[in-house]
Assembly symmetry: D2
Homo-oligomer: 363 residues x 4
């Protein structure tokens, strides 16, 4: 297993969804950064279940506690360990799953790989693991904001067949995003998205969607060319989020349908550096940030766990009807995926920032 | 810079497009694998420029030579170094570029990051670097085929607005793909794609497209859950290919528009294990291979270097008209991207195979 | 900072000596290994302070708690997180140190590197950090014992100028070692060592020594030639223990004084494999284990913190007399270093075992 | 196999001693460093065989050629690949070894681990591999000298039972070291060491010894506390050199016999920082450089390959008399180990310098 992300600014996460606790160790965070538990708590509260009628009623408080690395509100340069106790583990809900692996879930592959499954819930495959990413990402985010003024903002741009208009050029802030329970800053779209999710709930079904993310004020020169291109590491980070199924940057998949003359971004003087007139490159050229906003999208599949009956098979291969009555799952992961996408983006950028300190001249 | 890919089966590449040579070191390849230079040469010949009227006329022979790691046709378990001399370096072609960074190319970001540029050509950002990936990938591919019967086949599924039908369920082989100069196994689509590329050539323009890749016979249990999910590492690998802009797996971006009941893959007995009736998951669940074929797509943007005049700026920020008369660039990277996608897939799977040897029970 | 050790079987430690807790995350441990908190506790109890009149009276109970990775007494293949609360933090003892860096201690270099110091005690430089190594090493040790029958036994072979006879060829067990409070299995030497430590206590001084370690039943083929030779990684591991100043393997420094004909180990048939008549190589040839017992030594300096007055300087460079009245430090780290050396050896061997699973044929 | 050393400034080596070529890839070297092949050649010439009557007559010219990463005498920030053709491979010399593994050599363990041996010579276990370390280390050395004025000087301080006096406090330069063919800057000792080596040659035997190394002007703050302490990584690097058997830093093994009051280094104002009155710590405290010269020793065993007949066994376990008539091996590796020790020290310091750029404040 590989539960660590990053090379210099690293996040290690641990914990089963129904065990004693989940937690994380952030290593490589510079010393003397102002950091309080409350900063992390605020980030966790945005990801917490039970925020609205659209999310799982599992009422975890997700209260974070620092075990190390911070003293009197300042980081020490030592590893920052944090834990979140599992207040609301409820193994009973999952008993039926012992015989029947949930379709399109990780039950079967974990069982085959490890020969053992966490007694209940998704274990490490549970979306609950992402709370630790949000906590670690919050630390990266604070470093990026304080040192470089980097702003990372993500929002829901599609739910099912409901698409919001392109807002990547607008100065969207997190508070704009949080104004709607679906986390789409376009009010009309948000309402239609909420409707789509409500329908999925009524149907005992689930629905997918897309998160769009913009990172502003990223200095020129972050990203390692060749294998660790900025957008390649972002793709890795984003595709590691549970339920992520697609990633693209800038014009992305649409670029595949374009001609070079329609896609290329012309240079123009901006301040002391060059900028580009358009941003179809999504802020990255040759794998290195070019000073324009980073823009990328992450596609999420509909939640695998649904209440509708499914004709599938037991672990032994016998046909079986799976009907999950209880259990606490979001019918649509999108609203809560927003802070997770932001967190993973922050972790990537923090690592790239430290790496750039060595090789490049961006600092 | 980070010029190494992989954790146990690693590829390190080196070389500027117009320097003395390019090359690679493959480390972690098991001992006593049958391997000849001719195997690698065959793979390189599929990526080589000048194969058809649709690709750059740069006539590199790309002749590979082993320096180490292989003796009497067998690997020694030691690092396999290989070099490809740059027979056809032609720095003169690029002189104009010293003043004007090419739009949507890596010229500007490299210059800002390193303060120095390879005197000509794209240096490390050149597509020429991918020859080393193809060479390294060929070694991984041979290991995967011999030990597990893994078959990796990619093809061009879109060029510009021309889309081939979905062939992921068909038993396409590499020879089927190579039958057309655009590397699309659907004859009718291939002809229309060739037309689209010809038009781009006539216009002095370029065009993007999509590669689809299928990996068959991947055992259950490859991929590390959490951060190094199989599809996350594949995304990293694919997005590190020059001009890649998007990646998705299984139903991918389309999954975002679906309901769970329409997306979930039901289990069914297949041989001694479980399989799935459909394969919208693209062969991976919870980040671990499930025994079904891996299916993913990679979107490529149109080539940034075009002959059409471009109104852009010099490094100093002065408006300038860039008109590239000469230079050797493919108007469409797609046909030659096919073996690169296959090579990166092989490198990911080889690494995951070795990692699975430790933790899992897939072997 | 780099708080992770290992490539496949990894240990990450965290925690300041006087913060809320210390702890560790072990990643890469195979699934379905029998593991109980009591196993770890037993290992920790061997390292715990306050075991005898020769060690610091700091009365930490070092009670370990698993947070993840183990369920119903079996590992899940997921990261095993464990915490040890700091019951007995006592910042007041260290106040004087704020002005005067302790000679030959990490105070000064930490302050210069990080610009901040943990308010009291040694922070990460405290020997307390090694409790986490012992906990992580205990997990590695259990895996090694169960899967390969590996036995790791270390003991104190010198304290100051008192040397025990060479016991590396004797079948010493941990219980033999633990019979004496100095952890030397030779009774006569143990008594003289205890005397040397008592004298150091009376003098307000400290004393160094040497730990010898033997690892039996290590299969042939562990260790990666070239940079990650088995003894090179062992050296790395051992020299990372606080106060370690020297490492040698087999005949070690004495080999430097020998001729080849006197040093070489002749081969002889042993069971189905070859063994060697003598073991001056210490069980490793060309960086790879040869099936003979691994034998190495670790030299420890005398504890830097002493009660005797020291004429040194303040952080500002002013001459100062440092007299540490209180504080809880062992006058000799050797007895408690024994389980730490064993733990680090177990971590190295566990990692090498997993690495060998890929490349070699030792399993 | 793991043929890469370092985290940010990395060296990957490849090549069998009797294959087509050996070589290296240095990654992470900053851009715009002045670097010429001649700089590397000069370093290689110091390690080259056949320099004196005391070393192997194998007359390799070890001519280095850059393949990438350097243009017009400046590094590009891209990987620097270099090759050294094997001009003088002579497989015939080694044929007898096919039946009998050389005692205390890597033949047996390689064969057991990989199931295959390079047809002749030591393959990767040959001292020839260290030429690549010297080449890579030369690049690191140049960077360290130019940016920080770091001076790394090693010399032979013992051969067999001949010990030179302690010169670590003297301003020894490399030219002082190279004045004698044994590379000991103390004339009287050098003569006696040469005599000891001559005696080993006459006897068909070999002899071990010790290299001492001093690194001056290392800034305060290099080295990562906990697992990657400066001296721990140095130990790793040094023990990975063929024939190395022991490592110690500062007072080293002698510290084990001392009391704290005799060992501790008192602080004193030196310029704008603190220094220490004595340097028993060898320039490192808590794993971090303290501004004093780094001082460490490496013990080498006598060369395993000797001309004296050895009563050993075949691979099959049958008793056999091994008498190696020909073959080209140094009777004492010490003189040629000096540049290898310096190279590995440079690689460690270069990596630590780049790592310190991120976390610390030493730059």
């Amino acid at each position: 297993m590989s539960n660590t992300f990053g090379r210099l600014f690293t996040l290690t996460t641990f914990g089963e969804s129904h065990g004693p606790a989940i937690g994380a160790v952030v290593d490589g965070c510079p010393a003397r950064l102002k950091l309080r538990e409350a900063d992390i708590q605020a980030a966790l509260d945005r990801r917490r279940p039970g925020q609205s009628i659209l999310t799982t009623p599992r009422a975890e408080k997700d209260k974070v506690r620092f075990l190390s690395g911070v003293e009197k509100g300042l980081t020490l340069g030592t590893p920052i360990a944090l834990v979140i106790e599992n207040a609301c583990a409820n193994p009973g809900d999952y008993e039926k799953l012992i015989q029947i692996p949930r379709p399109s879930h990780a039950d079967y592959t974990y069982k085959m790989k490890y020969g053992i499954l966490s007694a209940s819930g998704g274990g490490r495959a549970s979306a609950r693991e992402t709370a630790c990413r949000v906590a670690g990402g919050a630390i990266a985010d604070i470093m990026l904001r304080k040192r470089w003024g980097v702003e990372i903002v993500a929002w829901v741009s599609s739910v099912g067949t409901v698409d919001a208009p392109d807002l990547t050029g607008k100065p969207i802030q997190r508070r704009d995003v949080d104004r709607s329970i679906v986390r789409c800053p376009d009010k009309a779209s948000a309402d239609r998205m909420a409707g789509a999710i409500q329908r999925a709930i009524s149907d005992g079904d689930s629905v997918g969607g897309i998160v769009t993310c913009v990172c502003r004020n990223v200095p020129v020169g972050w990203g390692e060319p060749v294998f660790d291109k900025l957008h390649a590491v972002l793709a890795h980070a984003m595709m590691s989020i549970p339920a992520a199924r697609g990633f693209d940057v800038g014009a992305g998949f649409a670029a595949a349908r374009m001609s070079g003359s329609a896609h290329n971004d012309m240079f123009i003087k901006k301040g002391r550096c060059l900028g580009t007139v358009t941003n179809r490159s999504g802020g990255v050229q040759g794998g290195i940030s070019n000073g324009e906003p980073l823009v990328f999208r992450v596609a999420f599949k509909p939640t695998a766990t649904i209440k509708l009956a499914q004709r599938t098979a037991t672990y032994d291969g016998k046909p079986a009807l799976l009907k999950i009555e209880k259990g606490r799952h979001d019918p649509c992961v999108l609203p809560r995926a927003v802070p997770v996408v932001e967190a993973m983006a922050a972790l990537v950028l923090a690592d790239m920032a430290l790496l750039a300190g060595n090789y490049g001249q961006s600092r």
